[in-house]
Symmetry: C2
Subunit: 347 residues, 2 copies
C-alpha cells in the first residue's frame, strides 16, 4: 500500500504521462529487491537471464504486437507478420549473444479472422523459428473483440560469462553498428504515404520494415570473440539504443554523423519529402541491427568478422566519460546533444 505522500505524487498521472521507461523504473523499484540469486539479468533489460548451471544460462524475453499500434494488416501480410513477431524476439536473444531455443505463441484473435490468415501467421512463425533451429513448443489462444494481438515468449541459451548487455561499455571503446540505420523507419513512412502500391525503387526500405532479419549468427560470433564490451539491437533506433548503452554502462558517447551508415535510397526519399531525416535515423527504430562497443585494438578483428560474415559493420563513434553525455558530431564539427527520446511506447 502507498503512503499518503506517495499517493500525492502519482495522483492524476497516467501511463502515457509517465512513459514506458518511467513505468519500467516503477516495476524495478517494486520487484527487483526480492529477486532470486540465480537471476543474472532481471527487469530493465530486453532479455532476462537465469543461471542454469556452472556453464549455461537460460535467456527469456517477450514482445507484444498490437494491431494498429505495431502493425497494420493493410501493409503487412499475415505470413510476414508471423515471421516478424518471431524475428523481433530472436533479435533480443541474439543481441545478448544467445542462441534461440524455444518459443511460446500467445494470441488474441478477432472472431472474424479467417482460418487462412491464421494458418499464414503460424506458417511465418514456424519458418522464421526453424531458420534458427528453434522450436515453437506451446502457447495460448484467446479471442478479442478488438484487433489482433500477438505476443511471443522466446527462450534461448548462452554460455555463462559470455552474455553481452547494455552495460559494459568503457570510455575509449569504439562504437560499431551492422547494416544501415533508419531504413525500417523510412520503410514505414513509405508504406504510410503510398500504401502497398509504393514505388518499386523503395522495395529495400519497405522490406526492412516488414521483414527484419535478426543478426543471430553474427551476434553469437561477436559474443564468442570475448572482446565486445556491450551490445544491443537497434529496436528503438540507433540513438535511443546508444542511450540505453550509455545509461546501462554509465558512460557518454560521441556519434560521428558522417559515419552513420544510411541507405542512399533514404536520401532519394528525403529529397522529395518533409521528414526530419536524422530523427528517423536515430529514433525511428525497428532496424534490429546490432549496436556494440569494443576496445579500439580489436578494430581489425571486427573488420575481419564483417568480411567473413558478409555483413557490413561500420565504426560510428566512441564511448566517452559520462559527463559528456550523448552527442552527435556533425560534419562541420558542431555537437548536437541527444536527450535519448527515441521510441517511447506511451507518448
Amino acid at each position: 500500500m502507498k503512503t499518503p505522500d506517495e499517493q500525492k505524487k502519482t495522483k492524476g498521472l497516467t501511463v502515457a504521462g509517465i512513459g514506458e521507461f518511467g513505468l519500467i523504473d516503477r516495476i524495478k523499484s517494486m520487484i527487483n529487491p526480492s529477486m532470486s540469486d540465480n537471476v543474472i539479468i532481471g527487469i530493465g533489460d530486453d532479455t532476462a537471464a537465469i543461471k542454469i548451471d556452472e556453464n549455461k544460462v537460460l535467456l527469456a524475453t517477450c514482445d507484444i504486437q498490437v494491431e494498429d499500434i505495431h502493425f497494420k494488416l493493410d501493409f503487412i501480410s499475415p505470413y510476414q507478420l508471423g515471421k516478424r513477431a518471431i524475428a523481433v524476439n530472436l533479435s533480443d536473444i541474439g543481441s545478448m549473444g544467445g542462441k534461440p531455443t524455444f518459443a511460446l505463441v500467445s494470441m488474441a484473435l478477432p472472431k472474424k479472422m479467417s482460418v487462412d490468415n491464421f494458418d499464414e501467421v503460424i506458417r511465418g512463425m514456424q519458418d522464421q523459428m526453424k531458420q534458427f533451429s528453434g522450436s515453437i513448443i506451446g502457447g495460448n489462444l484467446a479471442r478479442t473483440n478488438q484487433g489482433l494481438i500477438i505476443d511471443i515468449f522466446m527462450m534461448g541459451e548462452a554460455q555463462a560469462g559470455r552474455i553481452l548487455t547494455r552495460s559494459g561499455a568503457k570510455a575509449g571503446n569504439l562504437i560499431f553498428t551492422t547494416g544501415c540505420a533508419g531504413s525500417s523507419a523510412f520503410g514505414l513512412k513509405i508504406l504510410q504515404k503510398f500504401g502497398k502500391r509504393f514505388p518499386a525503387e523503395y522495395d529495400r526500405l519497405v522490406k526492412k520494415q516488414l521483414e527484419p532479419e535478426p543478426r543471430i549468427e553474427l551476434a553469437c560470433r561477436l559474443a564468442e570473440s570475448n572482446f565486445v564490451t556491450s551490445m544491443i539491437d537497434t529496436s528503438d533506433g540507433l540513438g535511443a539504443d546508444l542511450k540505453h548503452i550509455c545509461d546501462g554502462s554509465e558512460v557518454g558517447a560521441e556519434l560521428y554523423q558522417d559515419e552513420i551508415p544510411v541507405e542512399e535510397l533514404v536520401d532519394d526519399y528525403v529529397a522529395e519529402s518533409e521528414i526530419n531525416k536524422w530523427k528517423q535515423i536515430l529514433f525511428g527504430g525497428e532496424d534490429y541491427e546490432l549496436l556494440f562497443t569494443a576496445p579500439s585494438k580489436y578494430e581489425d578483428q571486427i573488420k575481419e568478422i564483417s568480411k567473413s560474415s558478409g555483413i557490413p559493420i561500420t565504426k560510428i563513434g566512441k564511448i566517452t566519460e559520462p559527463e559528456s553525455g550523448l552527442a552527435v558530431i556533425k560534419d562541420d564539427g558542431s555537437r548536437m546533444v541527444l536527450d535519448g527520446e527515441g521510441w517511447n511506447h506511451f507518448r
Copy 2:
C-alpha cells in the same frame, strides 16, 4: 503454401467457426513434426516441458487476459487482476506437479490508465508470485488504443519422470477433485447480475471468481506421491477438463453427479435464478481446482493427503474404457453423455 484442395477446405472459414481446439489442432499439424528431442511436452497441453538434464525439467506456459473478454474492471480491482493473472499461470505449472520459478509480464496499456492502477496491478502480481517463492524477472510494455491486455509467461521446474499431464489415466482409475466445482462461474453470474454491490452472502463465490487460489503445494505433493496417473486444473470447467483427460489418455469416464462437490450457496442462488446449474458446474470454468486420477488402492492415501493439507479432496467418478465416452450418472441412475463443449474461447 496450401494445395488447391487445402485452400478449398478453409475457404470462408473464420477462427470463430473452427474454434479454439480446432485451431490448436492446426498448429499441432504444422509445428509438432519438427519438434526438438528435448521437448517432453509440446503443443496441445496447458504447459510445455523441456528436458534440462537427467533430473530436471523446465516448464513453460502462458495465459493472455483481455479486458472485457476475460475480465471487467467494473468487477475486479487492479490489485486482484494482477494477482489473478499470475495465479492462473501458477495453476498451470502446479497442476503438472511443477514448482513455479520465474515470470515475464507482458502488457499492452491504454494510454489513459492511471499510474496508481498500474502500480496496483504490479503489486498484485508481485504478492502472488512471492507467495510461491517465484520471481518476476522481466517482460515488455506496449500501448494499445483498446482495452488492457495482460499476458504472463510463467516458467517452473519439475523432477524428470514426475510430471503429471492429461494423459496417463487408465480404465478403472478413480477420479478426484479438490474444493468445489462451479463456484467461480456462479461468482461471475452474481457479479454480472448485481455488479460490485452483490449481496454479501455470495462473497465466497465471488471471491473464487476474482481471487482464485492455485493449489501448488497440494499438486506437488500429489506428483511426488507417484501414484497419481493424470492431473489437470479445472480452468475450463470440471466436465471440459475431464474431457481433456479422456482425450489425452484415450479413455472414457463416469462422473457421479451426486458426488460432485458444489457450494451450498450455489443451490441458494440457483433457486432464485434461471441458470442451467449443471452447465455452469461442468463447463463454467475458472475454478482452478485440481482434477486427477489414481488407482483405487490409493484412495486411503489420498484421504490422508486431503486431511493433512486441509484441502477437501472428493472422489467423483471412475475412468472407463474409451467406448463408453464421458458420461454423468444422475442420482436416478440415468446417464447423460457429455460432448465436452466446455469453455471454447471462440464460440
